[in-house]
């Protein structure tokens, strides 16, 4: 570990717990979505939404429970993570409810499935479940270092989670991507959970192997190249990501895992060569897959010029519609409930939910959302910096890095910055797995930051310090 002067970590002086700051921010995080909710109701139906009071109360109660759990079990946790996640989740609920009101989407659902079901109540339920899970994680996980013990079990679990969607009979092919499994009528996206589980494995594994990976290397062209046998793990992860990509048609998840691994490897070994190797491998993989898999190829074409193939390719139409949503929003947006982002049709309230933000809240709103996500990432990285143990550092940076990559890949995809991949915007998009997994992620970051900021136990007084006499020869 480097010896940068660090005032936030170790110290016997008790730091302010910042719980009251958190409570105040939480107040805003609950009130803002309630106003947004009222705004949508007034814009679409000309009246306040019927369940407004109840929903507001529900969101407030959930936030209150989360706050109390943090106050009791993670007193020194970072004060920003919980309010920002609550705000994003609350606004996500409003966005989903707003898209539920869209006649266009209702008709589309009726045409495709014969009936239309509202997503917002289900999402509210998932949010409640997620807060419950959040509380359980904080209650059970008293110290994140416990997870070190499950390093290899985590690896196995992550592999199983990743493979599940391709198991015949269990996996569900939805619009070309095999990333869902359906169990008892519920669709679950195991990849969302795998993200966290695999971070445990990476952190545990790298903590042990970091010295070997960092030191046993040869210098070549200014880079420290690892030994051949140390390349094993990264090759395996790379191959796994490619397999995910090829068999599940899921560019996003594959990118996410590989990126997360490279980030953690770099942090663990402090060797730039890993970044270079990682980049080369991902470029190589991307080129090969991009040239062969038709699914990926269509998305690359759509990314290059969505309007060139607009009328002929569904992928192009989606991206084109999404970009036009952003463009039509302009600087200030159309206003809650007054846009036409539902023209995207497909996955408007999940993969493409950010387009609704773009159209209805405009440039100002999109920037605000991006900065909120940026803040979560920043608090995550800060937690990693502040953590006192290498496992915690690696775990925190892995989770934050993955979070950042996910934001980039999803938002960049719908904005036409990079080819579109099927992933969900954390906290905004409709979908239980995503909400549950991301609240767990927040819970873990809160736990690590609590451990980091907790005052170090006062050094135990040495029982014989005073008794010991220095005997000097006289």
């Amino acid at each position: 570990m480097s010896v940068v002067t660090n005032t936030t970590t170790i110290g016997a002086i008790e730091l302010p717990s910042r719980r009251n700051t958190e409570l105040l921010l939480l107040g805003f995080a609950v009130v803002i979505p309630i106003f947004a909710y009222a705004n949508v109701g007034l814009a679409i139906h000309g009246e306040l939404p019927p369940g407004m009071f109840l929903y507001g109360l529900g969101l407030g109660a959930l936030a209150g429970v989360a706050h109390l759990v943090v106050r009791r079990y993670a007193k020194y946790a970072d004060p920003l993570l919980l309010p920002i996640a609550t705000l994003l989740n609350g606004l996500g609920l409003v966005l989903i409810w707003r898209l539920d009101q869209s006649e266009r989407l209702q008709n589309l659902a009726k045409r495709q499935f014969g009936l239309f079901t509202e997503s917002a109540p289900r999402q509210m339920l998932y949010t409640a479940l997620a807060i419950a899970l959040f509380s359980v994680v904080l209650l059970v996980l008293k110290d994140h270092r416990v997870l070190q013990r499950f390093t290899y079990i985590s690896m196995a679990a992550a592999l199983v989670l990743l493979i599940l969607p391709v198991v015949p009979g269990l996996g569900a092919d939805v619009f070309g991507a095999k990333i869902w499994i359906s169990v008892g009528g519920f669709s679950i996206q195991p990849g969302e959970f795998a993200k966290i589980v695999i971070a445990i494995f990476f952190a545990g594994y790298l903590m042990v192997k970091r010295d070997a990976l960092a030191l046993a290397s040869r210098r070549f062209m200014g880079l420290y190249l690892p030994r051949g046998r140390d390349l094993g793990p990264i090759l395996m992860i790379w191959a796994m990501s490619l397999l995910v990509l090829v068999f599940e048609n899921d560019l996003g998840t594959s990118l996410l895992f590989f990126g997360m691994f490279v980030i953690m490897l770099y942090v663990a070994t402090e060797r730039t060569s890993w970044i270079v190797i990682g980049l080369l491998m991902s470029i190589g993989g991307a080129v090969v897959v991009g040239a062969t898999a038709s699914h990926v190829k269509a998305r690359v074409t759509a990314w290059l010029d969505p309007f060139d193939c607009y009328s002929t390719s569904g992928a192009c139409e989606q991206v084109g519609q999404s970009i036009m949503s952003f463009g039509s929003g302009g600087v200030l947006g159309a206003g809650w409930g007054q846009g036409n982002s539902d023209l995207i049709g497909f996955a408007a309230n999940s993969d493409f939910i950010f387009s609704t933000v773009g159209e209805e809240l405009g440039l100002a709103g999109v920037m605000a959302f991006l900065l909120l996500y940026g803040l979560i990432i920043e608090r995550g990285v800060r937690t990693a910096l502040a953590a006192r143990d290498p496992f915690g550092k690696l775990f925190a940076i892995g989770l934050s890095g993955a979070f950042a990559l996910q934001i980039f890949v999803v938002a960049g995809g719908v904005m036409g910055l990079i080819p579109l991949t099927g992933m969900t915007m954390p906290f905004l998009a409709s979908g239980g797995s995503s909400v549950l997994a991301n609240w767990v992620l927040i819970a873990i970051l809160i736990r690590i930051s609590d451990t980091a900021r907790r005052p170090a136990p006062a050094p135990a007084p040495s029982p014989d310090s005073e008794m010991t006499q220095v005997v000097r020869p006289s």
Binding site: M1, S2, V4, N6, S102, E103, R104, Q106, N107, I263, Y266, V267, A268, E270, F307, Y310, G320, I323, M324, F326, G327, S328, G329, G330, V331, N340, L343, G358, G362, L363, V366, M367, L370, L371, Y373, G374, I377, E378, V381, R382, A384, L385, P390, K393, L394, I397, S400, G401, A404, L405, I407, F408, A411, G412, M415, G416, L417
Partner: protein, 489 residues
């Protein structure tokens, strides 16, 4: 481990920064382009999100409407009262197939998005009133329009009628017509109707009154007569001309065929009465190509910017043709082509003592609360001939109706001037000819309230010049009577 951590944090910052730059690019730099792309259905959605204003005819009756739809994309849909009757005026506004003519040109007013309605919109924002479109008040006379449409019946043809005193368009009919209501929406049925209209053999979607040119045939002889009088080739309309029989086209050995008798050395007046080809070819040749072009252009030929505000096609009088071509063109054959509106303009200039008024059909644009935003002031377009010459020409045209080929247009107790025409077309003139009739009626005080041009395509007309009088004149008569009657009552 903190050094790489800081670098990773920088990297994450860059990722977010890239997204921030991208959203600025999309939502600020490219916003205008993206929000108005042709693929962007928001444009049409906005167009039909409010109740569209109406197009109104003389007397205050709207000929359009707006109905709520049960589709989720567009809240309102355009409807038309008597769609086929008024289609040449309104054009169409279809959710799926775009809009044309007045519906397209005055879209800003009709949707309420025009800058001049900004104040109304702002007031509406505070009073909570829904945005509404303004109205377009036209000059069209419903009685005249109906008379023309009914008289044309199932014949293929067109009628244009103008008030010579102001240039106000009174009737604009094209048959067979279409009902713009039938494809105003975006359903399967709308598409079916649209496709069948678009591919129809008889070109139902074409506005023949403004957007189709025909050889004007003998009706063009009034233009030749005007040129002859203006250029002093003829000064006395009753003096015999030096036209031989048969008249050989200059520079050729082709004789100009007459369908009438008594054309040898006939006076201009007599020649118009019985429609002598030889006399007018001779006179047109004497006026010369360039002077013919000059007069024709003063009447509006060769002008591709006749905006009523719906732009009419340019009528043609060839500027570069040979001498014999000019002689043939002087009787409305060869390269000469005119829209019905153009021939109505010619008639109106003669009836208005030589002054051609700019034709127009939008009288007023009004705000939703009926405040007038814009009012059309009649404008003089040109003076193709002097008042004295115009009166001579009027005398000749009255003579045609009283004694000559145009007797079917006679109205009791009203002075009517007219001219028939039959235009040959097709290779070797094999196709069935077009029957034309142009005419005007006079008030007792000598001013003229209506000039009308009628063309009937594909009729079973014989080549005889009389056919214009037989087929087209009754239509013109009905229009003139309708205008006179509505002016009285």
């Amino acid at each position: 481990m903190n050094k790489p951590l800081r670098r990773i944090s920088l990297f994450c910052g860059l990722l977010v920064l890239a997204l921030l730059v991208r959203t600025n690019w999309l939502q600020y730099v490219q916003a205008e382009e993206l929000s108005t792309r042709k693929e962007n259905r928001r444009v049409q959605i906005a167009q039909y999100a409010t109740q569209r204003g109406n197009i109104i005819v003389k007397g205050g009756a709207p000929i359009t409407g707006s109905a709520t739809t049960d589709g989720s994309d567009y809240k309102y849909k355009r409807t038309y009262t008597d769609g086929p009757l008024w289609a040449p005026v309104t054009g169409y506004a279809s959710q799926a197939f775009g809009s044309t003519q007045l519906e397209s040109l005055e879209d800003g007013i009709l949707t309420g998005n025009d800058d001049r309605l900004f104040f109304d919109r702002t007031v509406g924002m505070f009073t909570g009133e829904k945005k509404q479109g303004g109205n377009v008040v036209t000059t069209l006379n419903p009685a005249a329009q109906k008379a023309a449409f009914e008289k044309l019946g199932d014949k293929v043809g067109a009628v244009a009628a103008i008030d010579p005193r102001t240039g106000a368009i009174l009737a604009l009919v094209s048959t067979p017509s279409y009902d713009p209501s039938s494809f105003a929406g975006n359903s399967k049925n709308d598409e079916k109707a649209w496709v069948s209209l678009k591919d129809s053999q008889d070109k139902k979607l074409v506005n023949r009154a403004l957007r189709e040119t025909y050889p004007p045939g003998s009706t063009f002889k009034v233009v030749t007569a005007a040129a002859a009088l203006e250029n002093s080739v003829v000064t006395d309309i009753n003096a015999p001309t030096d036209t031989p029989e048969p008249y050989i086209l200059p520079g050729t050995k082709t004789p100009m065929v007459n369908h009438a008798s008594g054309c040898e050395k006939a006076s201009l007046n007599k020649a118009l009465e019985v429609s002598c080809n030889s006399v007018f070819a001779n006179v047109g040749d004497k006026v010369g190509r360039d002077n013919m072009v000059k007069t024709a252009e003063k009447f509006g030929f060769n002008d591709d910017k006749i905006d009523t505000p719906v732009r009419a096609f340019s009528s043609v009088y060839d500027k570069t043709m040979s001498r014999d071509g000019n002689a043939q063109s002087s009787i409305g054959q060869f390269n000469t082509a005119a829209t019905p509106l153009q021939m109505a303009m010619v008639t109106s200039a003669i009836a208005n003592d030589g002054k051609l008024m700019k034709p127009y059909m939008v009288d007023q644009l009004t705000a939703p609360n009926l405040d007038v935003i814009e009012k059309h002031e009649p404008q003089e377009m040109s003076r193709p001939l002097s008042a004295a010459n115009a009166q001579k020409l009027q005398q000749m045209m009255v003579n045609v109706v009283e004694k000559g080929t145009g007797d079917k247009a006679k109205i009791k107790d009203v002075t009517v001037g007219g001219k028939t025409g039959t235009a040959q077309h097709g290779e070797k003139n094999a196709k069935r000819p077009y029957a034309w009739f142009i005419s005007y009626a006079e008030n007792p005080d000598g001013s003229s309230p209506v000039a009308v041009a009628v063309v009937v395509e594909d009729s079973d007309a014989s080549r005889e010049d009389i056919s214009g009088g037989g087929l087209a004149a009754p239509v013109a008569k009905a229009v003139m009577e309708a205008v006179l009657k509505s002016n009285k009552g």
